[in-house]
Amino acid sequence: MAQATQTASGAVRTAAGPGRRRSAWQTLKRDRQLWIMILPAIVVILLFNYVPMYGIQLAFRDYDFTKGLTGGEWRGLYYFRQFIDSYMFADIMRNTVTISLATILLGFPAPIILALILNQVRWKRGKKMLQTVVYMPHFISIVVLVGLLNVLLSPNTGIVGYLLRSMGYEINLLASTSAFVPVYVLSDIWQHCGWNSIIYLAALSTVDPQLYDSAKIDGAGKWQTMRHIDLPAIAPTIIILFILSMGGVLTTGFEKIFLMQNTLNLPVSEVISTYVYKIGILSNQFSYSAAIGLFNTVINFFFLFVTNQIARRVSNISLW
């Protein structure tokens, strides 16, 4: 297939003009309809993702109501130092990394496995129904999901709490510091696993059926087909998605953790985003919370970059 694309593009090249290298202007001109079609997207991204970046300087300034975003006194790295020297720094970083690493390590392989299994189901209607059932939870709003968790896990009235108690475990899953991360990660997998598997199923659907047939003729079992045909077929997708997810290594999301937080699990549930909310929104410390946010983004970017470099060296697949 790769070979076919190459010849096709080669044909276009020879038709368009001489020389293998062409100037940027020429490609622009050749693809002008495509560029015009993508223009709205570029405008939106510039406007909403790049233009607001001028606000980043807030992290280096005092925020002054009267002088606006850019008018406050220049404080340099003062707010970054304040965060790193802060009493909460070690705890917050540990909690954030624990939660997001657990989410990546357990949550990342789950949709791959699900997709591989679903792909093996031969009964068409059953497969479709199963697929719908597993991706439905994705549409439950987070508030409702946490409400569900509260109802199900309640030690007095919840069904899970009741089962645990009847098996002799006296534990309040909503309150225990050791149960917080498992409850968070497992419910996350339950909610998003089906949805995230869609992209792998799409990748698997491009596999040429002839490959399966010839594997069968060669006497390969289900397990071997999966290992030697399916996995290699989705490997590029896996690597790209993994790089992207490493870009969120310090991003735990806010709503779910905030909603699940209570005073008993606070030692493990206070993460960067909830701390920023308490400092920035509830206490109006805009500069300080901007600095924490920027710190978070820089570390995320660092991980994204490193993973990308490693992936490029090792497998030749990368974002850029």
Partner: protein, 544 residues
């Protein structure tokens, strides 16, 4: 042809994306433009105003008292009635600079907004002097209202309210009298007696439904991660002589003029030890730290006619237990720590927060009819009008006895409770008002019963030295630097203290961990915070 179409389509898409983002800014400003050019004598002056009202409140055009007040002030107001998303609307409105003549609502415009948009709001000092006799009367009769209104530089932008009738505390303590009677128990007066009563509630079939295990002896409101609140066991600190101010959410209280924090106080340790003892004995609802407020309320309503909770805290008995179960409960006096304790018991003091409010009304500095607007504000602060702001119009809501005394009438719809009726009929607590102390008004049943249920607490509340034992939080305006220092320190403090509190109550261990904990708390910056607050409290005292 095809190419032309795709070009047009792409252009339209780009244009609509741009239009969508520039549109947001312009929308809100237009509505509030003031057209105050008309000011001829005899004709009523047209004004514009925004009010943030309760979602239940009926349209202003149907409020008789408001129509009458506008007429007396010689103004005709075009109202915009806001019930939701005020903070979003406010941002667009203020940054456009085109605000209506008046903005009314509880702290609808905050001190921070006033500081952020200098020149947008009118300094009212001269107008009060020339056109605000009722406001002046309030400032003279209640000097604290002037203190609430005055910014650090002496200017006055927002006017406060004084609603007088609310009780001195938000938290009342309830026990199920019927359960006590069923089990032949006496009303507890000390912590130990309370403990014994709760054990009896747990072990016996106190509610008499045949199941000895469905009673929850003690329950309290969910403890948030950001600090304590009302209806929580921190009121037990009153037994040890600590006076909480407005629930003292972050632990700060005052004792003999010295600012302290109970989170590092030995007396707090004893309260936590008592609660841990109760929790270990299974006397406290096992979900107390994980349930939300709705669950906390619904558990106490029991199922049908069977009560579930024995001892708890709340605002008012029917609100807490529902109409069916309310008669079973009685309000209790504060407990003594031990039978031989000679400490003067205290309680949570919330009078200021319940009866005063800041920035209830502000005026645009660009209004063309400032005097007319001030005349209207002045009308609102007339005590008889203020009474109607709070409880509704004379006629349907209030009875005029003809001899200068008034009476709040019961709801016209018997299915409605008095609280809902009040919020439906008028601005209620959201309006600016001055209920003068010499106004004779008989209150409705809800307020009367709150008053009656506060009775057992009155000896303790009366004994509080309001000068030296109540932290004047409402009257302090911190500088931006001090405010941010306090905010950071307190966020750290709450992270540590709230987690420890719930951990100690549910699994004990306070004895071993206390000394280390106190050292940790010092590291969160508490000594610095205490020093800052003390400085402002002293300054506030000097200015009085």
């Amino acid at each position: 042809m095809k190419r032309a179409w795709s070009l047009i389509l792409a252009f339209l898409l780009a244009a609509s994306a741009l239009a969508a983002c520039s549109g947001g800014k312009n929308n809100d400003g237009g509505g509030g433009a003031s057209d105050g050019a008309s000011g001829g004598s005899g004709k009523r002056v047209k004004l514009t105003a925004i009010m943030t009202k309760h979602a239940l409140t009926k349209p202003f055009a149907e409020m008789e008292w408001l129509q009458a007040a506008e007429e007396r002030a010689g103004v005709e107001i075009e109202w915009e009635e806001v019930t939701a998303d005020w903070s979003q609307k406010k941002g667009a409105l203020l940054s456009s600079g085109d605000i209506p003549d008046l903005i009314i609502g509880p702290n609808a415009i905050t001190d921070a907004d006033i500081a952020m948009f200098p020149g947008l709001f009118q300094d009212l000092r001269d107008l009060i002097e020339s056109h605000g006799p009722n406001v002046k009367a309030m400032f003279e009769a209640k000097p604290e209202t002037r203190a609430l209104a005055t910014q650090t530089d002496g200017s006055i932008y927002g006017l406060p309210k004084y609603q007088r009738f609310w009780p001195a505390t938000a938290t009342r303590q309830y026990i199920n009298q019927q359960w006590l009677d069923n089990l032949g128990l006496k009303m507890p007066t000390t912590w130990d007696e309370l403990f014994d009563v709760l054990v009896a509630f747990k072990e016996q079939d106190a509610n008499g439904n045949g199941d000895p295990n469905d009673e929850i002896p003690m329950d309290f409101a969910p403890v948030g991660t950001g600090g304590f609140g009302h209806f929580q066991p921190t009121v037990l600190l009153g037994s040890t002589g600590i006076t909480l101010t407005n629930a003292s959410g972050q632990g700060y209280f005052m004792e003999d003029g010295v600012v302290k924090n109970f989170l590092v106080d030995e007396r707090y340790k004893r309260v936590v030890q008592f609660l841990a003892k109760c929790y270990a004995a299974g006397l406290i609802n096992s979900e107390v730290f994980t349930q939300d407020y709705t669950k906390f309320q619904s558990v106490a309503r029991g199922d049908g006619n069977t009560a579930k909770v024995g001892f708890t805290w709340g605002w008012e008995v029917t609100d807490r237990f529902g109409n069916t179960l309310a008669p079973q409960y009685v309000s209790m006096a504060p407990l003594k720590e031990t039978a031989d304790s000679d400490v003067q018991v205290s309680w949570d003091y919330t009078y200021e927060a319940l009866n005063y409010g800041v920035n209830m009304v502000v005026m645009s500095a660009r209004s063309k009819n400032k005097e007319a607007a001030m005349r209207f504000i002045n009308e609102l602060y007339d005590p008889v009008v203020s009474m109607q702001v709070l409880f509704g119009s004379i006629g349907p809501n209030i009875k005029d006895n003809g001899d200068g005394t008034y009476e709040v009438l019961p709801p016209a719809d018997p299915a409605m409770d008095p609280g809902t009726w009040k919020w439906t009929s008028t601005w209620a607590d959201n309006g600016p008002m001055y209920i003068a102390d010499d106004l004779v008004l008989t209150l409705g049943t809800d307020m009367q019963s709150v008053g009656a249920q506060t009775e057992p607490l009155m000896p303790a509340l009366d004994a509080i030295d309001k000068e030296n034992d109540v932290l004047p939080t409402m009257f302090i305006k911190y500088s931006p630097e001090d405010n941010s220092t306090l905010a950071l320190n307190n966020t750290n403090l709450m992270n540590l203290a709230m987690a420890k509190f719930s951990q100690w109550v549910t699994s004990g261990g306070i004895e071993q961990e206390w000394d280390n904990y106190v050292k940790e708390v010092e590291r969160t910056g508490l000594p610095q915070s205490l020093e800052i607050i003390q400085r402002y409290v002293d300054e506030n005292k000097r200015n009085q």
